[in-house]
């Protein structure tokens, strides 16, 4: 009953200082929100990052670095230093340990989106997230040379529908003089959202890539142009590709096949395990994520310092009040509770508001985050977040015990003589 009385006193006292209390509460609420938000966002970013590629046992490209290979072949960032020969690809993909292979040919673009040449095997074997296959939002895979399949983001950004014609550009920069306008592609399929770079890719067949470049030599259009129809009857067998993905019959063979590729005599090649390369890349960019979290923790600490300042300042004004309570029979340890419960109350209400804000933000930001391939479910507020909240409340009690202890000592020293 006495505890209830003390809580009532604390509550009324806080209410009496509405304005500063609201500000303090606001600052705690925002920091809790920030901490939860940053923590969740970094987890989701990492999750979505590691989900980019799945099921592929080895990633093979011209010899360079594993991170670079991953960047251009999976994330479509940067360019390959070199291509690899079709014969090498054929030799390796026909190896008895290989279950499937997806050749990739990069280099062209369309209005800022990368174009990737590949085969039907891509739609069949490519996996992302937890072994999820590609699915069609509309249409079907490419079947003829001038067919194209695009990711959902390309369709949304550029407003394409099935049957639309696309003019691809040579190289990464879409400029007038480097467009393959003589050979437009017809949109036959749009892929479902994956939350990976696939959403931002334009897929054509390897033959399509060959047809585009049949009259291009050393980076520019040759004078003898070949029409789209003529190209169809030419030999469209690719001689080079940029990289390829391999699926093996058995995981046990990964390292053996990797070694075989890395030691391939006729062409310098590099085979990497996508998971390891992803981990390596994450180590590079994960620093930023850690920095964000550290900042969030410091913002929270800062608002605790603010809380402490407010309570300690009020303590001086409340000296009189404490002496009155003492004269009424209030015990020194009750005085301690009176002051310590204040910060606890602030923390509990602040956390509650922060969580509420966090959940609201999840709902409101869903569409924005989807654009970045992020999906933050409600379930991301789980036991780990509750532990975080519990720690915040625990710390607030520890902090609250500072003014509590001071008031306790003060009430013993002052007696009834109140210094005004």
């Amino acid at each position: 009953m006495n505890l209830l009385l003390l809580l009532k006193l604390t509550f009324k006292s806080i209410l009496n200082r509405r304005f500063t209390s609201c500000l303090t509460l606001f600052s705690i609420c925002i920091s809790v929100f920030l901490l939860l938000g940053v923590d969740t966002l970094r987890k989701e970013v990492k999750h979505s990052f590691t989900n980019t590629i799945s099921g592929t046992d080895l990633l093979v490209g011209a010899r360079s670095g594993s991170v670079q290979l991953l960047l251009y072949s999976v994330f479509r960032i940067g360019n390959a230093t070199n291509n690899i020969g079709w014969d090498s690809y054929e030799k390796i993909s026909s190896h008895q340990s290989v279950a499937w292979s997806i050749p990739i040919s990069l280099g062209d673009s369309h209005k800022g989106f990368r174009v990737m040449g590949t085969t039907e095997a891509y739609f069949e074997h490519y996996r992302f997230a937890d072994d999820q296959a590609l699915a069609f939002d509309a249409g079907k895979p490419f079947s003829t040379v001038y067919d194209t399949v695009i990711g959902i983001e390309v369709a949304e950004k550029l407003g394409y529908q099935l049957g639309d014609e696309l003019t691809l550009a040579h190289g990464v920069y879409d400029t007038d003089f480097a467009r393959h306008e003589d050979k437009p592609f017809v949109l036959t399929g749009i892929l479902e959202r994956t939350g990976t770079p696939v959403d931002r890719t334009i897929h054509v067949s390897l033959q399509g890539i060959e047809a585009l470049h049949i009259d291009w030599k050393t980076g520019t259009r040759s004078r003898d142009t070949v029409s789209a129809q003529q190209a169809l009857v030419s030999d469209l067998q690719p001689t080079q590709i940029t990289a390829f993905m391999l699926g093996l019959n058995s995981k046990m063979e990964i390292f053996r096949v990797q070694r075989a590729i890395n030691n391939y005599k006729r062409e310098p090649m590099l085979a990497v395990l996508p998971g390891l390369a992803l981990g390596e890349l994450w180590q590079l960019i994960g620093v930023a994520e850690k920095a964000l979290l550290i900042i969030a923790v410091f913002v929270l600490l800062n608002s605790f310092v603010g809380l402490l300042t407010v309570i300690l300042t009020s303590l001086n004004e409340r000296r009189r009040e404490i002496a009155i309570l003492r004269s009424l029979g209030c015990r020194p340890n009750q005085i301690f509770i009176l002051l310590a419960s204040e910060s606890l109350l602030f923390a509990i209400v602040g956390c509650f508001l922060g969580v509420f804000l966090f959940l609201t933000a999840i709902v409101l930001s869903q569409s924005v985050l989807q654009g970045y391939g992020l999906h933050i479910p409600f379930s991301s507020f789980g036991s780990k977040q509750l532990v975080l909240i519990a720690v915040v409340i625990g710390v607030s009690f520890l902090i609250g015990s500072i003014p509590g202890y001071r008031a306790y000592k003060q009430s013993l020293a002052d007696g009834m003589s109140i210094k005004l």
Partner: protein, 246 residues
């Protein structure tokens, strides 16, 4: 209680503040009878407030005994002492007696929240604590309920002191200790307040210990004691220092 045994008996009381060089109080003997109205006169700095702290059990004497209602206050553990104070003593201070964030009525009933004994006594007189608070206030000439709904800081000093008196009196504690309760009041209200306080103490059967430097008030009391005669500790140096500082 036997009427011959005093309500309060102080013997060989000595006290100095932990940081102090010398004793503030050295009182060989002081006794107060039940129902007595006693006036203790002392200059500022003569140890009045310290004496009251000791009587209330907020501070402990270095030596000697304080016997209140047959209980040696100094022998009680701290929690028991605090409870004892809540149960048996009502305080009125010089100024700012009220807790700013509580209403007038809450300020009064707060005394009962810390003492179930006083709560029971209050409830034996009225149906609810609020009613008892209103009853005491009307005895103290504060009937205007509109006024009582205002924040306590909006009340005049005289009104605040009467609310404080009501808090000290609710639940009829055996002893009411008033520490310069009139010094912030002007001459007319002083008289008025004092009479209300004394008659209400008589009404509830409480013994009153009134401390003030104002000699003009002592006629209203049964007995007047000069603290400087009571207290053998020499406070003159301290007094001089205070004057020098101010």
């Amino acid at each position: 209680m036997n009427t011959n045994t005093p309500l309060l008996k102080v013997e060989n009381l000595r006290f100095r503040w932990p940081s102090g060089q010398r004793d503030v109080l050295d009182i060989p003997e002081l006794s107060i009878q039940k129902g007595e109205r006693i006036f203790i006169k002392g200059e500022s700095g003569s140890g009045k407030t310290t004496l009251l702290s000791l009587l209330g059990g907020i501070n402990l004497p270095d030596s000697g005994r304080i016997n209140l209602l047959g209980t040696d206050v100094g022998q009680l553990k701290q929690n028991r002492r605090d409870q004892f104070r809540a149960d048996h003593i009502g305080f009125v201070f010089q100024l700012f007696n009220l807790i700013p964030y509580l209403s007038v009525i809450e300020n009064i009933t707060l005394a009962c929240e810390f003492s179930s004994r006083r709560k029971a006594k209050a409830l034996s007189k009225s149906r609810t604590l609020e009613e008892e608070a209103y009853r005491l206030l009307s005895h103290l000439q504060l009937q205007d309920r509109c006024l009582l709904k205002k924040p306590v800081s909006d009340l005049s000093v005289g009104q605040q002191q009467r609310v404080a008196a009501a808090r000290a009196l609710i639940g009829s504690p055996e002893l009411v200790i008033a520490d310069e309760p009139t010094s912030a009041l002007d001459a007319d209200t002083r008289e008025y307040f004092l009479n209300l306080l004394l008659s209400e103490c008589e009404h509830s059967g409480s013994t009153i210990l009134f401390v003030s430097h104002d000699r003009g008030l002592e006629n209203a009391f049964d007995r007047s004691v000069l603290l400087s005669k009571l207290n053998r500790a020499d406070n003159r140096i301290k007094t001089q220092q205070r004057e020098y500082v101010s």
